[in-house]
Amino acid sequence: MGSDFVALSLPPLLIGLCASMACALPGNFLILRKQALIGDAISHVVLPGIVVAFLFTGQVSTWPMMIGAAGAAILAVLLIELIRRVGRIESGAAMGVIFTSMFAAGVLLLEQSDTSQVHLDVEHALFGNLESLIWLDAEGWASLFQIKALAGLPVELLRMATVLLAVSAFVYIFWRPLALICFDEPYARTRGIAATALGFALVTLTAIAAVAAFDAVGSIIVIAMIICPPATARLMVNSLRSQVIYSQVLAFMATVLGYMFAGYVPLWLGFSNTLSAAGMIASMSGVFLACAALFGPHRRRNI
């Protein structure tokens, strides 16, 4: 656990942690608003977003793709809302129509465009490449205090940390109105809260967190982390504040344990290959949820 760990495992782990926590935080409010599946929808439409961005710029560069993905996510949210209201379609079905169609368009565009030389495929968007985010300049724990070495950290880390910070700030600032629109949206409106705008801001921020995360860790983690840690926390505690704190702790633990199980345990058991870290982290959050659903002190409905 020396220099190898710092160079090869610490950065992906930290990136994974930031991603998981940034997704779990808004997830708390989404599940209370019964919008949990918006994360699922968002992570599917990321694909057309990045493909379109690629077609425009002709290269695989981070920012255009992030913007493309975020744009697609926001477009999807708007379209879902539009057809739900205007066409009077139930929200689940509206979501299903839009995200599957956009995903199909993404796959088609991908096939049509010449992306054979670049690493841009469906699997990448799904699975991410957490394991490849290494810190080549690190020579041991001491590197954490060397400015020159720190400059060589994967950019994903800084980006993900910034997003985590932004999401936390949003939740902190808008805590009361967020709680109010989750509990009683019509009442919130009568108190002069711009409920529609706030709800949209919540979804947009989730989309930004999801898009920043998918590049590093793939969309599997995104969907799992938006839903599982908050859902687990909801079965364990009974106040919004503790639910949010628990969800963060659970996201943290799922990431650490999942990463370990994917990267180390197979090697200790004598296998030569590691497993998908993203898949394992998400699976771990599912294990936590299963435990909470079986034994959580507040697993049952009050009413």
Partner: protein, 403 residues
Amino acid sequence: MLWSALSLTLGYNATLVTLGATLLGIATGISGTFLYLRKNALISDAISHATLPGLGAAFLLMTGVGLDGRNLIGLLGGSAISAALGLMIVTWLTTKTRLSQDAAIGSVLSVFFAFGVVLLTVIQALPAGRQAGLETFLLGSTAGMLFNDAVLILVLGAITTSILVLFRRPIILVSFDSTYAQTLGISPQKTDYLVLAVALAVTVIGMKIAGLILIVALLIIAPVAARFWSEKSDTIILISAIFGGLSGYLGTAISATAPGLPTGPIIVLCSFVLFLVSFLLAPRRGVLAAARSFWVFQRTVHMTQGLLSIAQNQPIYEPKTKRILQRRGFIRADGVATQAGRALAAKTLLNERRWSFWRNKMQQTGDLDEPIVYSLVSIETKLTHDQIESIDRGLSEEQQERV
């Protein structure tokens, strides 16, 4: 090229694929309608994602015991088992814990899918795994469709959809009013299980063609599109089947015309076009028709209210009402009513008085169960001459009493 694809003359394999996809579209269109009517459309998302670990596990198991890991029936069997497990967990989470259905669906689909991905990485590490080609199940592939596969889809699709069609009465009853259905001895739980089982079967069958992500689209889009065209459940089911079949047929035909047109996405996009057409153009429920009738309604309301204000010498407050009346020449720019405006206002007031007299009489005798707003239509179009005369007699009697 497109024509020969459409007319099924593009060769044996292409014809097979087209037929298979059309049947799949019909089967998903029908079973998806029941999910949609039960407000359960996105459960298909959980079903399809939950197939992945079963797919991987089946491959590992079959390879482990020395069989060909790519055996389609084995793979589909494994998928069906894990999808069923996923469905049971969704149901259990929704009924036994405080989690709402969307959270239950989301957690099951993400965790199952993630675990499936872990299994895929295990498989890729195996010597036999590199050629497993399990990734094709993610996005679907029709390239290697065999005659047996088509027959499998045909037989299973026919069985499952005919089960649904046979049991459609109780299922529709439950979707409409589950409490009432229960009093008739129909168990909502059982019909739900039946619908889910069929949806599961169709998902597993269709995975090979459409891929497990896009099969969701087939189960959702055609039913949602069909809903715009009718209020009768039987008709919706029929239209949904037609839309689904049409998407499968057109989709495969178009995809056969050029390289780089993957079948699954093209089928989905075809059904999306059908959705878009329905969404915009369907009579009554379609957006354009609804917007138009709302617009007409709004104008009528403002006209009627404005004219009543004129007839009763009251000021008109709303700018919109003023605008509408002015544009039609019933008031002048300074708000004073014109000759035509006064005449129509008097007529409107008479209509209003006749209607409310009629309504009060009907309500008092208990002959009018539903509260209905009549004032917006001319009474002459609804009641007979004699009825109106008797209303007028009543009105003048009332007037005299008051004086």
